[in-house]
């Protein structure tokens, strides 16, 4: 690489001043790589139990993790300046794909989320938006004065609402809300004055009761069931009752790996995907779950450090948002499985079975590493 043209900052992070290492040469950040792979490995063990010790799904998941790792490393090689320039194009392409998916998408389980190029691939444009929306907002705030003015907040809101509405139309309300939250995180990190935040929360609290009385009885009923699944023990409540029983029966140290009765007697639905934390809770107990949460916190802590060390607005906002969005996924998933949040289909990051989620998350961590390892001032 053309190290000659680059002058490292005197006090910029851990790698400053050290001789060139493998990590530096490949733009890797060892804490990120180590922690993500450690969590994935932990997830594979639990998955092996959740699928009744079949090897095929575990091998398949390992391959997916491998592919995702290659993507992560590749994305780390690309300079953030490139992401900055690409952001508007990616955003435009993402919107077009979302429109296409509404027009031509494949319908699975009553909603159109998948775009299919026959023989080539099947993918969800909304998944792309999870990274592209923070990117475009960071791009937008990058050369504006911060904290943002009202006018800029208005345009940011337009950028958030457009894809969110398109995704909500599919309909995929869960993903729409998650993507909206990632957009709001950028705005919060950009330094929106706290008084606006309080005003928005206040307005929400005031209008909520009014909206409630405007609802019809059956709509109220549906919302109540969402928050209190025991109202509907045959339908939506079944999953939550079973997952709480699984977790609760695990106790402090769990029943032991492969010993969970709830998961192995098929009481627990979706035990490999969205509800995998219940398997972990049943078999490895409170200790096992808290261990996972500690790994998550270390990973997000590293993300937070990277974001404050980033040298420009784009890098800061993007790195910060990737980090905090990761936490939103963790919180929503575990909150759902333990019965404190409504049931929305969100996988547990890096642990749930399935490739799409891991691919998106690893791509995000790749960008995070890119921001961290390309810190330099060009001459």
């Amino acid at each position: 690489m053309s190290q000659d043209f680059v002058r490292r900052l005197p006090n910029a992070g851990l790698t400053a001043g050290r001789p060139s290492t493998l990590g530096e040469a490949f733009h890797l950040d060892w804490p990120i790589v180590g922690l993500t792979l450690l969590i994935c490995f932990y997830g594979l063990i639990v998955l092996f139990s959740a699928v009744d010790q079949q090897t095929a799904p575990v091998v398949a998941q390992t391959i997916k993790i491998g592919i995702a790792t290659i993507v992560m490393v590749t994305m780390a090689q690309i300079s953030p300046i490139f992401y900055l320039r690409l952001a508007p194009w990616l955003y435009g392409a993402g919107l077009i794909l979302l429109v296409l998916v509404l027009a031509f998408g494949r319908e699975i389980n009553g909603s159109q989320r998948w775009l299919r190029i026959p023989g080539v691939l099947n993918f969800q444009p909304s998944e792309l938006m999870k990274l592209v929306l923070p990117m475009i907002l960071a791009w937008y705030f990058h050369d504006r004065h911060l904290p943002p003015k009202l006018k800029h907040l208005f345009w940011a809101a337009v950028m958030i609402v457009t894809p969110v509405l398109l995704i909500a139309r599919q309909p995929d309300l869960g993903t729409a809300l998650l993507i909206a939250s990632s957009g709001l995180l950028v705005v919060l990190l950009a330094g929106i004055p706290w008084r606006y935040v309080w005003a928005a929360i206040g307005a929400g609290l005031v209008t909520a009761p009014v909206l409630w009385f405007a609802l019809r009885d059956y709509q109220k009923d549906r919302i109540l069931t969402l928050f209190n699944p025991e109202r509907d023990p045959l339908g939506a409540g079944w999953n939550i009752i079973q997952s709480k029983t699984a977790i609760g029966s695990g106790g402090l140290f769990g029943k032991g790996l492969f010993q969970g009765t709830q998961s192995h007697l098929d009481f627990l639905p979706e035990s490999q995907t969205d509800f995998i934390i219940a398997v972990m809770g049943e078999e490895l107990g409170l200790v096992g779950v808290v261990g996972l949460l500690l790994l998550y916190i270390l990973l997000m802590g590293r993300g937070a450090v990277i974001s404050v060390q980033a040298q420009d607005t784009f890098g800061r906002l993007l790195a910060g948002t990737i980090t905090f969005t990761f936490f939103v996924y963790v919180f929503v998933n575990i909150g759902m499985v333990t019965g404190v949040l409504p049931v929305v289909g969100v996988p547990l990051p890096l642990v749930s079975y399935g490739g799409t989620s891991i691919l998106t998350l690893f791509a995000g961590f790749g960008i995070l590493m890119s921001i961290h390892t390309h810190r330099r001032i060009t001459l």
Partner: protein, 638 residues
């Protein structure tokens, strides 16, 4: 003004960002602590409760299916009830080897390949763990005994008693009430899985379909503790199901039977309506089929035979059959002529037996025209045009009215629209207009088209229900009705009050009187010499003890496609015209309006009118027994 150049304050920005990240991370730690707290509560504080639930027992939620609402006729006779039926079910979780189990069942009571395939499809549907899946329905005593004796060798196989729909009157009522059928793959996709858990049937046709939500009731559930074999040890809590609501229909079973008998083995349909309420007293369509066949599953051959029969027994002629009304349309056209002033009561024409449009050589014949030159009805006014069913008078009047006025007046009586309240399969017939022809065929309306409409032929189509409804409105002298099956019973009813905005106003009494007098003459005007009697007098009017207003009609058969294979006699029979007769009675205080159609029956007065007479005799004369007596009588019959 030039805006002052403001430089980006990088140190302020990174300070703000740093603060935000610190606040955000603090919040992140706080929320994680909240999750840990929640886990602590579940896993440590409530551990004993959940451990009990999970380790020693398996908690099951069982659905308790509701009892489907019963359907009664207006006299309290049961039309649809529920009877126990024993089905063989399999609980997959308790079966060790599915193929071996199926083989065992096959050896004991026999399983066809269809039954196994059907069962495997049902297995693939989503269900709760330990929810049993039916494999055979309607076991007989012998089968129950064989399975019971060998039950020790069949873990997971059970005999379950369920209430299933039963129609005690069989095919007599099928087209009036509709039926339930087994829930199929398409239903599963759109149904609320919870509301139908434990229910195998759904209303598919007629009243059973329209009032499905009211009849179904609400599913209940109970949470039970079971041991490892799935046996219930203890009921933890339960919420009982709510039975479906019972319905009372306007239908009169006794009248329905009389109507069915009057029609005999002929293909055709009968609709009788109570003019004051619009309630449907009888609705017969023949041939029919036994709805009980469909409840517990029909075999392929029987179904194929029903489906492919040229007599279309599955087709409800009363509401789905669309026929030319023929001369039965004349009273309604007569009203249109009077009210619009195209003709007056005194206006007469000289009927030579044929009609010609100006500048057109085509001859439109009267029904009694003959080549020998004799024909026609002589001097004809409107009343005579009705009781003699004079075509030439109505050819003439229709041309004077023009198609669009005809359209407007006839639609007042519900033609061309579906006014039925609770008959989901009812069709709307066809009432043509200039705009309609332009739109559907891209052609202009010709005067010749109107001539045919004058005698109810050409592009006009009605269902027997529509015709009976129109006759009931005539009996009401304009008070609108919406035909309905339901008399009382459910809270989920459609608008019950008859909307008076649909009533036909602006028709003076003398016009109603004249038309109705014409219809009375159809039946009662007799002993006047050749060509002066009402068309139906000779067949039904000579010994009648009550006053009836009626009108005959004969509808052309829309041609049988060429090249289809029919033998000569059958071709002849199927080309014969359809016989119509409509009536209401008694004239002074109408309690019944009726339309009868006999497919390929021949002339309306000769063949359909006696059917009407027989039914009305039953309803008005023989049926003077009290309701209680009648109930007892039917009990004996059954």
């Amino acid at each position: 003004m030039v805006e002052p150049l403001v430089l980006k304050d990088h140190s302020l920005e990174s300070q703000i960002f740093f603060d935000r990240v610190v606040v955000g991370f603090a919040l992140l730690i706080l929320l994680t602590m909240f999750l840990v707290g929640r886990l602590f509560y579940l896993q440590i504080v409530q551990h004993d409760i959940y451990a009990t639930l999970s380790d020693r027992n398996r908690i099951q939620v069982q659905s308790l299916p509701p009892i489907r609402g019963l359907i009664y006729d207006r006299n309290g006779e049961l039309i649809a009830d529920n009877v126990p039926s024993y089905s063989l079910t399999v609980t997959v979780e308790r079966v060790n080897d599915m193929d071996a189990t199926l083989g065992e069942i096959d050896a004991l009571i026999g399983l066809t390949k269809d039954e196994i395939d059907e069962f495997k499809r049902r297995l693939e549907r989503r269900r709760r763990p330990f929810e049993s899946v039916p494999i055979l329905f309607k076991l007989n005593q012998q089968e129950i005994a064989r399975i019971s004796v060998n039950k020790y060798a069949l873990p997971g196989v059970d005999i379950e008693a369920r209430l299933v729909r039963h129609y005690p009157k069989g095919e007599l009522m099928v087209h009036a009430v509709g039926s339930v059928r087994r829930i199929n793959e398409d239903d599963v996709k759109r149904l609320d899985r919870v509301a139908y858990s434990g229910t195998d049937h759904i209303g598919k046709i007629g009243v059973e379909k329209y009032y499905e939500n009211a009849l179904l009731g609400a599913v209940g559930y109970r949470r039970v503790e079971t041991d490892a074999r799935g046996r219930v040890m203890k009921v933890l809590d339960q919420s009982p199901p709510t039975s479906g609501q019972n319905l009372v229909l306007h239908v009169d079973s006794s009248l329905q039977r009389a109507a069915s008998e009057a029609l005999g083995n002929r293909r055709g349909t009968i609709v009788a309506i109570e003019p004051s309420t619009g309630g449907i007293l009888a609705m017969v369509s023949k041939p029919a089929y036994d709805p009980n066949l469909f409840v517990t599953g029909i075999d392929h051959e029987t179904y194929a035979a029903l489906r492919d029969s040229r007599d279309v027994p599955l087709f409800n002629r009363a509401i789905q059959g669309q026929y030319e009304p023929g001369s039965t349309i004349k009273p309604f056209l007569g009203l249109a002529g009077l009210v619009s002033g195209v003709v007056s009561p005194e206006y007469t024409i000289e009927d030579p037996g044929w009609f010609k449009l100006p500048n057109n050589e085509r001859l439109y014949r009267d029904w009694n025209w003959s080549i020998e030159g004799y024909g026609g009805h002589g001097e004809v006014n409107l009343q005579k045009a009705i009781y003699r069913s004079c075509n030439v008078y109505f050819y003439n009047m229709a041309v004077k009215l023009g198609i669009d006025r005809i359209h407007d007046y006839l639609s007042l009586f519900g033609f061309g629209r579906n006014t039925a309240l609770d008959l989901p399969e009812a069709r709307s017939g066809l009432l043509p207009s200039k705009a309609w022809k332009k739109q559907t065929r891209g052609l202009a309306w010709y005067p010749g088209d109107t001539v045919n409409i004058g005698i109810g032929q050409g592009d006009i189509l009605v269902t027997p229900l529509q015709l009976a409804t129109a006759v009931a409105m005539l009996a009401n002298r304009g008070k609108a009705i919406q035909p309905r099956m339901l008399k009382k019973g459910a809270s989920l009813l459609p608008e019950m009050a008859t909307k008076s905005e649909n009533d036909i106003g602006l028709i003076p009494d003398h016009a109603w009187n004249l038309i109705i007098d014409g219809m009375i003459d159809v039946v009662h005007r007799g002993n006047r010499g050749f060509g002066e009697n009402g068309t139906a007098w000779a067949y039904i009017g000579q010994d009648i003890s009550y006053r009836m207003a009626g009108k005959s009609g004969t509808a052309q058969v829309v041609g049988i496609a060429q090249g289809e294979e029919y033998d000569e006699a059958e071709l002849d029979e199927r080309n014969r015209k359809h016989a119509w007769f409509v009536a209401f009675a008694p004239v002074e205080q109408p309690v019944i309006a009726i339309a009868v159609l006999i497919e390929n029956g021949g002339g309306g007065s000769e063949f359909a009118a006696p059917v009407v007479r027989q039914i009305l005799d039953h309803y008005l004369l023989a049926d003077k027994l009290s309701v209680a007596d009648r109930g007892r009588q039917t009990l004996k019959v059954n």
